[in-house]
């Protein structure tokens, strides 16, 4: 937290915590959205249990929402918290270790009853001992403030106490000088038809705000000036999964092909299915009977001329493998979105990970190359999906988009692009029967023509058996098979010619390069900035294209003495880089269901450079 004036901050991390069902995600969204609308950069990380209602008040039931907002360099949801809002003791217990020394701790003292302390695993009340001495503790009787907000309203105690999240939001808004307007507007829209609920929540928000102002806990509230750069345009607060859905719609519109999604509900990818189900003008959606039928229906729609997609998470990607291989041999365009979560098996459904990279690149039987692209942030899910669609359509290939739980669920401010800003989408839809063969090839891309059912004279058969090149007839000829294996590989390899050169960031003379992919982009950049600030020369580069890899990756990596690859897996990109380029890269791996913290990368980089702490 760097400061200009004593009460002016450039970057702040707030963590809201409470019981699932306390409305933590809701106030987190409201706070982040308000900050974005006030011109701050934002990055969020929702963190919640996989059970809808884990036992109330327990550690297992804690729901968290983290937001980083600020004037510059907001690349991640943040490391340590400046403010921890704990609505119950379990929320405190789970999150306290990550609160900065001298950070603010906002507690709902009304919830620190003997019973809830016991449920959270406290043997004595932390309000009464020295446990919280390192922090600035703001003790607020939130239930009592709820009662005050509900004065004169015909509501039960339970209904009144449910507003505690808005009391907490009001206090947080005061601490950081946030406007109440966006949330007041939202409440109006949400509860317009229920005047008592509108009133009590509105009053709870205002009561929290004025309580904080009058309490004298802080002499004055902090300010967090708006971002230095705000490109003109229309902005939207958007999560990665919604951005993915919008990316598919935008690509479909740009390509002039109808959009089809075949999908099956799975955490943490389901919002993509929800969003497109709600847009029937823009997409035909099938909620399939299983993951397999999800991708199968998408391949059928693709055969019929759609920009077709399926969305899933790890276990679903495993189930889709056979059909993905079919899309490879059929040479049909397809977008497979995999919002990665902790595995193997059911693993950690609500927690983030990056451990499906090798499965995406190689996880099928036979020589079965697919294009793999990774999104780097929530809003980048839009661009990554558009790019995946563009490649799928141009080259007639399946493309896997890897996003991550933290990206899909996390949110950022997104400048809405105009359709013309999106890349051009080329397709080779064939209508002329003269000289038509299903496996003719474009010389440059090796794509085959897209001959859509309903087109007279182009009736043809495709299938899962090996094809003869050109005619597409079934062929068991061994030399033809080898030829086709090589063509399918070459088609994917050629896409590398379109990948823009890798950009490096940081010190030009650095000996160390930190190489990342996917959702680690922000945290790596932040770590490099922090290292530079400390006078440690470092640089970073980031991969969006994981298959094929950019052509300049090998010469780039060989410029550096040391290469560090941090991943939320056990070293999947690391393994590939070492295997393909014989580069002695080092790895940094955490698989703890959460994104990296910048400090973790900084420490490893310093260790590699022999910098003493």
């Amino acid at each position: 937290m760097s400061t200009k004036r004593t009460n002016e901050l450039s970057r702040v991390v707030v963590r809201f915590a409470g019981d699932s069902g306390d409305g933590i995600q809701l106030i987190g969204d409201q706070f982040a959205m308000t900050s974005a609308m006030m011109g701050n950069q934002i990055s969020t990380l929702p963190d919640y249990p996989s059970e809808i209602r884990a036992p109330a008040g327990t550690i297992a039931g804690v729901s968290g929402f983290q937001v980083c907002f600020g004037t510059r360099s907001v690349y991640t949801p943040g490391d340590e918290y400046d403010l921890l809002v704990a609505i119950n003791p379990a929320g405190l217990k789970v999150n306290l270790s990550n609160l900065k020394k001298n950070g603010i701790l906002l507690l709902n003292t009304d919830s620190f009853t003997e019973r809830s302390l016991q449920k959270a695993g406290y043997s004595s009340n932390p309000l009464d001992n020295s446990e919280l001495n390192d922090f600035r503790v703001f003790k607020v009787p939130m239930f009592k403030l709820c009662e005050k907000a509900a004065t004169g309203l015909p509501l039960s105690t339970k209904q009144v106490e449910r507003c505690k999240n808005f009391v907490a939001l009001g206090i947080t808004n005061w601490i950081y000088g946030r406007s109440l307007e966006p949330t007041l507007k939202w409440l109006q829209k949400k509860f317009g038809a229920k005047p008592d609920f509108l009133k009590v929540n509105t009053e709870a928000l205002k009561t929290g705000f004025s309580y904080a102002a009058e309490s004298g806990f802080l002499k004055e509230s902090y300010t967090v000036p708006r971002a230095e750069e705000n490109v003109p345009g229309t902005y939207r607060y958007i999560t990665g999964n919604v951005a993915t859905a919008m990316g598919l719609i935008a690509a479909s519109r740009r390509a002039g092909r109808p959009l089809f999604l075949g999908s099956y509900p799975i955490t943490p990818a389901t919002e993509i299915l929800h969003e497109l189900s709600n847009q029937k003008k823009f997409a035909t959606v099938l909620q399939a009977e299983d993951e397999i039928a999800g991708i199968g229906s998408a391949i059928g729609a693709s055969f019929g001329g759609a920009l077709a997609a399926t969305s899933t998470s790890g276990p679903g990607l495993s189930l889709k493998s056979e059909f993905l291989g079919l899309a490879v041999i059929l040479e049909l365009p397809l977008v497979v979105v995999n919002v990665q979560r902790g595995g193997p098996s059911t693993g950690l459904p609500t927690k983030t990970e990056q451990a499906d990279l090798l499965q995406a690149v190689w996880g099928r039987h036979g020589e079965s190359p697919v294009v793999v692209i990774a999104a780097t942030s929530p809003r980048d899910c839009f661009d990554a999906t558009v790019e995946a669609s563009r490649i799928a359509l141009k080259y007639m290939v399946p493309v896997v988009v890897l996003t991550e739980g933290a990206l899909g669920q996390g949110a950022e401010a997104w400048r809405i692009p105009a359709l013309e800003e999106l890349p051009e989408m080329k397709t080779w839809v064939r209508t002329n029967p003269t000289g038509f063969l299903p496996y003719l090839r474009d010389e440059a891309t090796l794509a085959r023509p897209w001959a859509l059912p309903g087109t007279p004279g182009l009736e043809h058969r495709i299938g899962s058996l090996e094809k003869e090149d050109g005619t597409g007839a079934t062929s068991h000829d061994p030399l033809n098979h080898e030829k086709m294996v090589k063509i399918r590989a070459e088609k994917v390899a050629r896409i590398a010619s379109e990948i823009p050169p890798l950009e490096t960031y940081g010190d030009k003379n650095a000996r160390l390069l930190v190489l990342g992919w996917g959702g680690t982009q922000g945290v790596i950049k932040l770590a490099v900035e922090n290292l530079l600030e400390e006078g440690v020369p470092a640089a970073c580069a980031h991969l969006r294209h994981l298959n094929p890899l950019p052509r300049d990756i090998e010469p780039l990596l060989k410029k550096y003495d040391k290469v560090l690859i941090p991943e939320n897996n056990m070293g999947q990109l690391w393994r590939r880089i070492r295997a393909e380029f014989l580069i002695n890269a080092e790895r940094l791996n955490i698989v703890r269901g959460r994104p990296f913290r910048a400090k973790e990368i900084e420490e490893k980089a310093k260790e590699m450079l022999g910098v003493r702490k």
Partner: protein, 339 residues
Amino acid sequence: MSEEKTLTRRDFVSTVEPRWCAGCGCHSTFTRLTSTFPMLGVPRENFVVVSGIGCSSRFPYYVNTYGFHGIHGRAPAVATGIKLNNPALSVWVMTGDGDGLAIGGNHFIHLMRRNADIKVILFNNAIYGLTKGQASPTTQVGTKTKTTPYGSEEIPVKPLALALAAGATFAARVNDTDTDLLSEVFLAAGKHKGVAFVEVLVNCAIYNDKAFAAITARETKTERTIRLKHGQPVVFGANNDKAIKLKGIKPEVVSIEPGKAASDILVHDIHNPDSTPAFLLSQMEYPDNPVPFGIFRQVSRPVFKDKTEPRPTDQDFKHLLESGGFTWKVDSNGNIGSV
């Protein structure tokens, strides 16, 4: 191919020679189906034949339409995607007892219940042929196969009963040698709006020869099968001298005066909104009962996603991107305002 030209069977036969064994029931089914296609009034380019894996799933290669030979058991998924994306197409699924009821059993159920306008021909030979003779979900108890050398112990599934239980709006059974009925049923299935399920009993001459001969052989079929006719009493026998009567909820064979069914004889109604009578017929098996053939059920239900949405405008698209609740504008001076 112009639509005005009258199509014939020849237009629907591809240049690939069918590679089914001699004596396989797939041949006659192929002939009757390709004879039916020109009668449906659908341009050839609008036909799509989709299959999974197995002997019968080679079907698409032999039909000169759009064809899609997919992976084992998954033809319903592919077909559903093709149909939903372009409701103008006439989509036909070719599957078998292993493909459709074992590995693809789940897809089969959902294909039946959704009632998308897709036609499904299940070639039931009660054996895995392409993998050279293993028991399938319809193999009869006691049948010796390579995986059941002591005789199959599993209770077979009844494809029609399963289809009806899942809500099929059209369900029929035909034997591969009954060419007239094949044509009649395929035509009715092709014209049905909604999912149409046809079970064809096909003989596998190599691995399960004469599996259905006890019922369908020339010398036995009149006494052991029933030809269902809509609106007619359920009668059978060489002289139409036997009929089905319900005793409680059990079908019972009774003798009648040839051609004269009394009022207590079951009358077949394919349009009955209640599927119970059709389900009851689907349970009838030799040797306890004669086996019904023909159309069991044909009812009208809303067809899944058969309406095309109007194409969205650029304004719709802009509105969509800017919706979602939390939207604001930054002007060229950097001022922030609401949209």
